[in-house]
C-alpha cells in the first residue's frame, strides 16, 4: 500500500511539472487577447510552410521570399505586373552598353533601428552573399557582377575585386561581366537586398537568434518582425521608420505555416485566416463561382521530360524516344483539355509551347506567348502516322516505357491519364513509377527514366528563366538533349542589348526546342487562391508571391 502511495505521489509530481508548461500557454493567450482589443488592421495569410531562413543571402523559396518582401526593400521593387520600380534607388544610369549601372539612392531610407540605409550596406550585403563561407545557394544570382563568380568559387580571394562599389553614401556603382537586360528586376530579389552592416558586425551569426529577439532583425521594408514562433506563426508589424509608410495601411501581417491543405481550407471557412493558396483539387468545384475564389497567374509550365540521351530504355531495349517522330507522336496523342478540365479544374491552360503566357514581348503590350503562338497541335491521326513512319505501326514492337513522377496524388492522376491516352491512341504501353522527391530528383539527374513529369516556375519575368535550362551545359537539362544551334541562340540572347533582337533570338530558340521536342509541354500553371472579400489591394505577383505592402481590410 505504501508503495502504491509512492506511485501516486510520482504521478502528482509529474502532473505538477507539466502543469507548469500549461501555465506558460495560458500567459501567452492573455497577451494576444490584450492585443486584439485595439482596433488594428490585421491580415492573416497562410504561407504554407515554415521559412527555412530569413537571411536574404541564404533564402531560396517562395515562402522566404514572401516574408522578406515585406521586411526589406531592394534597389527596386517589383510592381504587380512584375516590372521593377524605384525603391531604395530613386534613379539609375546605365553605361558601357549596359555593363555598368550607377544607382542613386534615396536619402530618407532608414533601417528599422533608425540608422540610414547607405550604398555601403548594399556593397556589404552583396559581397557577403558571394563569400564562400556564407555558402549561399542563390549566390549565382550575383554571378552577373564582375568577378562575382570568381570570388564565390575561391578563384580570387580579395572581395574588393568584385564589381560593386559604394562611390559615396548614396551612390552605388555596379559593373557586370556582361550586359544583363533583366538586371533591374534582379536587384529586387532578396539575394541583392541591402543588409545593416552595423548590426551584422556586432552579430556575425545574424540572423541566428531573431526568433528569440525579433528586434535583432533590423530591416528597411514596410514591416518589421514582431514574432516568429517556428512552424506556428510569424508576425510582422508596420515599420514606423519606413520611407514610404503612408502607403502602408496594415498594422500587422500574420503569416501562418499550415502545411495541410485541408486544414487550411477549414480554417478559412472558420474565419481563422484571410487568404490561402493551394486548394485541394477535390474542393475546387465547391468554391468555383464564389467571390472568395481567385485564379491568380503564375509563371510555370508542367511538362514531360523525355530521355533522349540514353540508347536503351529502362527495360533494356533500344530507345525509340531518340526518334523525334516518336516524341512528336506522343505529344500529339495527349488530350490536354482532359487534364486541365477534368483533373486540375483551376483554369490551367493546355500548353503547346514551353514559355508560359504572362511575359512581355518586345513590343509594349504584347505577350511573348501570343507572339510565339503554338508550336504543335493535338492530332491523333497524324500521331499514328508519325509512329508508323518511325517503324512502330499501331505501337507494334514498341518497348514498354517507364513514366517517372514524384509521389503525389495529382501527378499520379495525370500520369494515369497519359498512360491510357497513349495506350488507346498509339498502342504504347507505359508503366507508372513513383519515387519520393529527392530520390526522384536523383533518378532524373542520372537519366534513370524514359519519360518523367517535371514542372518549372520562373525565377524572374523573362523567357530566359525558362529557355536557358535546356542548353547543353545546364544542370537542369536532364533530357540528354543538346543542340548547338539552340545553345548559340541562347548565348546570343543573353548578351544582346537590343531588346527586339534579344526577344527574336529567344523565339527562334523556343522553336528549335519544340521542333526537337526533348520536352513535351502539358499545361501552364495557375495559382488558385481563396481570399476573403474584405481583403483589398493585394498584389499577386506572377512569380508566386503576394505583396501586401499596400493591401488593406475593408469590412
Amino acid at each position: 500500500m505504501k508503495k502504491f502511495r509512492v506511485f501516486l505521489t510520482l504521478l502528482l509530481v509529474f502532473g505538477l511539472i507539466f502543469g507548469m508548461f500549461v501555465g506558460c500557454g495560458e500567459q501567452k493567450q492573455e497577451q494576444s487577447q490584450g492585443q486584439e482589443q485595439k482596433a488594428e488592421m490585421v491580415l492573416r495569410y497562410n504561407l504554407g510552410t515554415e521559412p527555412e531562413t530569413l537571411d536574404p543571402a541564404k533564402a531560396t523559396g517562395v515562402p522566404e521570399m514572401t516574408v522578406m518582401l515585406h521586411t526589406f526593400d531592394g534597389l527596386t521593387r517589383l510592381d504587380r505586373d512584375g516590372k521593377p520600380q524605384p525603391a531604395v534607388a530613386e534613379s539609375w544610369e546605365v553605361k558601357d552598353n549596359g555593363k555598368t549601372y550607377i544607382f542613386h539612392l534615396r536619402k530618407d531610407v532608414k533601417w528599422s533601428d533608425g540608422q540610414p540605409v547607405t550604398a555601403h550596406d548594399f556593397e556589404f550585403a552583396w559581397k557577403r552573399a558571394l563569400s564562400p563561407e556564407i555558402a549561399s545557394e542563390y549566390a549565382y544570382q550575383l554571378y552577373y557582377i564582375k568577378n562575382g563568380e570568381k570570388y564565390n568559387t575561391g578563384e580570387i580571394t580579395d572581395p574588393n575585386e568584385v564589381g560593386v562599389k559604394a562611390l559615396d553614401d548614396y551612390t552605388l556603382q555596379v559593373e557586370l561581366e556582361q550586359p544583363a537586360p533583366y538586371f533591374l528586376s534582379l536587384v529586387a530579389f532578396p539575394t541583392l537586398y541591402p543588409l545593416p552592416e552595423h548590426v551584422l558586425k556586432a552579430h556575425p551569426e545574424w540572423p541566428k537568434g531573431i526568433d528569440k529577439d525579433p528586434s535583432l532583425y533590423v530591416t528597411n521594408g514596410p514591416f518589421v518582425l514582431a514574432e516568429w514562433s517556428h512552424h506556428d506563426k510569424l508576425v510582422l508589424k508596420k515599420n514606423p521608420n519606413y520611407f514610404d509608410k503612408d502607403k502602408v495601411k496594415l498594422d500587422k501581417l500574420v503569416f501562418y505555416m499550415v502545411e495541410d491543405a485541408n486544414t487550411a481550407v477549414q480554417m478559412f471557412e472558420n474565419g481563422e485566416v484571410d487568404m490561402i493558396d493551394n486548394i485541394p483539387t477535390a474542393q475546387i468545384d465547391q468554391w468555383k463561382g464564389k467571390p472568395e475564389f481567385h485564379i491568380d497567374p503564375i509563371l510555370g509550365t508542367y511538362y514531360i521530360l523525355v530521355n533522349v540521351g540514353s540508347d536503351k530504355t529502362m527495360g533494356g531495349e533500344k530507345n525509340p524516344l531518340q526518334d523525334v517522330r516518336v516524341r512528336k507522336a506522343i505529344a500529339m496523342a495527349i488530350n490536354r483539355s482532359v487534364i486541365t478540365d477534368k483533373i486540375l479544374k483551376a483554369g490551367q491552360q493546355p500548353a503547346y509551347a514551353f514559355v508560359p503566357p504572362g511575359i512581355p514581348d518586345a513590343e509594349p503590350g504584347t505577350d511573348f506567348r501570343q507572339v510565339g503562338g503554338n508550336y504543335f497541335s493535338e492530332d491523333v491521326q497524324k500521331a499514328k502516322e508519325l509512329l508508323a513512319e518511325a517503324g512502330y505501326p499501331d505501337g507494334k514492337g514498341f518497348p514498354k516505357l517507364i513514366y517517372l513522377y514524384n509521389t503525389s496524388e495529382g501527378h499520379k492522376k495525370i500520369g494515369e491519364a497519359i498512360q491510357s491516352m497513349l495506350k488507346e491512341n498509339l498502342g504504347i504501353e507505359m508503366e507508372l513509377q513513383n519515387q519520393e522527391w529527392k530520390v526522384y530528383l536523383q533518378s532524373r539527374n542520372e537519366g534513370q527514366f524514359d519519360l518523367a513529369r517535371a514542372g518549372w516556375l520562373g525565377d524572374y519575368v523573362d523567357p530566359m528563366t525558362f529557355l536557358d535550362m535546356f542548353v547543353s551545359t545546364s544542370g537542369n537539362n536532364d533530357t540528354g538533349w543538346s543542340n548547338p544551334q539552340y545553345d548559340e541562340l541562347i548565348e546570343k540572347a543573353k548578351y544582346e542589348t537590343d531588346n527586339a533582337k534579344r526577344v527574336q533570338y529567344m523565339h527562334e530558340a523556343e522553336k528549335i526546342l519544340m521542333e526537337d521536342m526533348p520536352i513535351i509541354p502539358l499545361y501552364f500553371y495557375t495559382n488558385p487562391r481563396l481570399v476573403k472579400t474584405y481583403v483589398k489591394n493585394y498584389a499577386a505577383i506572377s512569380l508566386g508571391w503576394v505583396d501586401f505592402k499596400e493591401a488593406y481590410i475593408q469590412k
Binding site: F4, F18, G25, K208, E259, D459
Partner: protein
C-alpha cells in the same frame, strides 16, 4: 534496486550508441542529399555548402566528428534551417508535444480506467457492450480520420473551437482528444480484462464477503493489481505521445516535435534525423526503466536484484 538502476543506465548508453551508429549510416545511405533541389545548385556552390557542413569529409570522419559533438551535448546545425540548431529545434518543439501529450495521456488514463472498471463491474450489461463497442471503434479509426471530422464539426459547423494552430487552451482540446481516443480505448479494454481476472480472485471475494461496498472493493483492493498491464502499456505510450505525433501535429498545425521524424528524412536533414531519433530512443528507454520501477512498487513479488 539502486544497482539495478545503475546497470540499466549503463546499458542505456550502449543502446544509444548503437542507435546513433545505425541511424547515422542509414541516414547517409538514403539516395539524394540535403542540398538537392529541383533547380540544382551549381557545383561550386554545392562545394561551398558541403565544406561548410563537413559533408565533403569521408564518412568515418563525419561519424567521429558527430560522435564527438554528441558527447558534448551538441546535436549540430540543421541543414534545412541554417539558422537553427538541432538542440534549439528539440528545445522549442518538445515542450509543445509534451504538453499536448500530457493532456492526451491524462484523458486516456482517466477515461480508459474508469470505462474499463465500470464495464468489468457490469460485465455483459448495457454499459459494457456500449463502451466496448466504442473501444473497438476508436481503436480501428485512425487519427487522420478522426481529426478532420473534429475540425469540421467543432470548428467549421459549430464554431466552438479553432480548427488549427497553437497558442491557447482552446487550441489544445481537439488535438488532445484526437490523440487520446485510441489509447483511451486500449486502456479501457486492458483494464476491463485484467479487472475481470482480479475480481475473480479469492481476496476480492473475501472482501465482498465481509460486506464491503462494490466501489470500495474495486478501488481499494482490485484496482491496484488490475493496473499492472495498464502500466506496461502506459509508459511506452507516454514515450510515443509526449514526443509528438506526425499526423495529429500536421493536421492541427502544431509546432511540435512529431513532424521532424518524417520531414527530416524527406529533407535529408541528417543532423535532425539523428537528433530526434536519439532523443526519442533516450526517452523511450527512460520510460521503460520507469515502467520496471513502477512494477516493483505495485507488485511486491517483483524484485530486481
Amino acid at each position: 534496486m539502486g544497482r539495478f538502476i545503475v546497470r540499466r543506465l549503463a546499458l542505456m548508453v550502449i543502446a544509444l550508441w548503437v542507435v546513433v551508429t545505425v541511424t547515422f549510416f542509414l541516414a547517409h545511405m538514403i539516395p539524394g542529399g540535403p542540398f538537392d533541389r529541383e533547380k540544382p545548385v551549381p557545383e561550386a556552390i554545392k562545394k561551398n555548402l558541403e565544406e561548410k557542413y563537413h559533408l565533403n569529409e569521408p564518412m568515418w570522419k563525419q561519424y567521429i566528428l558527430y560522435l564527438n559533438d554528441i558527447i558534448h551535448g551538441d546535436l549540430g546545425p540543421s541543414f534545412k534551417y541554417p539558422d537553427r540548431t538541432v538542440n534549439d529545434i528539440i528545445k522549442e518543439s518538445f515542450p509543445v508535444s509534451a504538453q499536448l501529450g500530457f493532456w492526451a495521456v491524462l484523458i486516456a488514463t482517466f477515461v480508459g480506467i474508469s470505462l474499463g472498471s465500470i464495464s468489468a463491474l457490469h460485465q455483459g450489461g448495457l454499459i459494457d457492450s456500449f463502451s466496448m463497442f466504442f473501444a473497438i471503434l476508436f481503436i480501428s479509426l485512425p487519427s487522420f480520420v478522426i481529426a478532420p471530422i473534429f475540425q469540421y464539426i467543432f470548428g467549421v459547423k459549430l464554431h466552438w473551437l479553432p480548427v488549427a494552430n497553437w497558442g491557447s487552451w482552446e487550441h489544445m482540446i481537439l488535438p488532445a482528444l484526437s490523440l487520446a481516443l485510441g489509447p483511451t480505448a486500449v486502456i479501457a479494454r486492458l483494464t476491463r480484462a485484467s479487472m475481470l481476472e482480479v475480481l475473480s480472485n479469492d481476496y476480492v471475494k473475501a472482501a465482498k464477503a465481509r460486506g464491503l461496498s462494490g466501489l470500495r472493493v474495486l478501488i481499494v483492493y482490485a484496482l491496484k493489481n488490475a493496473l499492472i498491464p495498464v502500466v506496461t502499456y502506459l509508459f511506452p505510450l507516454i514515450a510515443a505521445i509526449f514526443t509528438g505525433s506526425f499526423v495529429v501535429e500536421k493536421i492541427f498545425n502544431i509546432p511540435g516535435l512529431g513532424r521532424y521524424y518524417v520531414t527530416s528524412i524527406y529533407n535529408r536533414d541528417y543532423t535532425v534525423i539523428l537528433g530526434v531519433t536519439v532523443f526519442y530512443a533516450a526517452f523511450l528507454i527512460l520510460m521503460n526503466l520507469l515502467a520496471d520501477i513502477t512494477y516493483a512498487l505495485l507488485d511486491p513479488r517483483i524484485r530486481y536484484e
